[in-house]
Amino acid sequence: EAGVAQSPRYKIIEKRQSVAFWCNPISGHATLYWYQQILGQGPKLLIQFQNNGVVDDSQLPKDRFSAERLKGVDSTLKIQPAKLEDSAVYLCASSPPRAWETQYFGPGTRLLVL
């Protein structure tokens, strides 16, 4: 079974630029999560999707971050404009419908904002 795929793996941008991350969850996983992990900290949930609907986006900085999950499969997370403090690893995870308590994480996208 293929794991959660993310791209790109690394991205370097200047502040005020835009950036987008892509996630392809494990086939059949209805729940998809985006996390932000700052160096030395644990992952922090940004947004949770159930199929293509948003379940929780309470910690998503909506003035600059947006996410979508069209057709309930792939998802993109966008930052526009980026700030220095957005430098972090962005992790995507998914959960299967009958074992929804377990999350399977992708390798993450490491973002550096200069």
Binding site: V4, T31, G40, Q41, G42, P43, K44, L45, Q48, Q50, V55, D56, L91, A93, S95, W100, E101, T102, Q103, Y104, F105, G106, P107, G108, R110
Partner: protein, 113 residues
């Protein structure tokens, strides 16, 4: 305020010994708690889940305990090996409906040969 605390200092142990990692939390009432392993440059990998009505869970060399009175979970790796060296994250369910995990900062484990 709500907190999840893991020892931020790295834990150094000798191969063959038992590693014990601690996760304490305040102002949460989780339905379950999980432990994940994270290697550098990789996403977390699920290891074990323990529910609020369970005291102990085992999987091969891993053992997790959960004390809801003390608001603490202990994670043990017996007969530790250098390959066990990684960061271990505890995560608890916010118990608000759909699974929403809150992660601790993780503890780095270093197992020396």
């Amino acid at each position: 305020s709500q907190k999840i605390e893991q020892n931020s200092e790295a834990l150094n142990i000798q191969e063959g010994k038992t590693a014990t990692l601690t996760c304490n939390y305040t102002n949460y009432s989780p339905a379950y708690l999980q432990w994940y392993r994270q290697d550098p440059g990789r996403g977390p990998v699920f290891l074990l889940l323990i529910r609020e009505n369970e005291k102990e869970k085992r999987k091969e060399r891993l053992k997790v305990t959960f004390d809801t009175t003390l608001k603490q979970s202990l994670f043990h790796i017996t007969a530790s090996q250098p390959a066990d060296s990684a960061t271990y994250l505890c995560a608890l369910d916010k118990n608000t409906g759909f699974q929403k995990l809150v992660f601790g900062t993780g503890t780095r484990l270093l197992v020396s040969p």
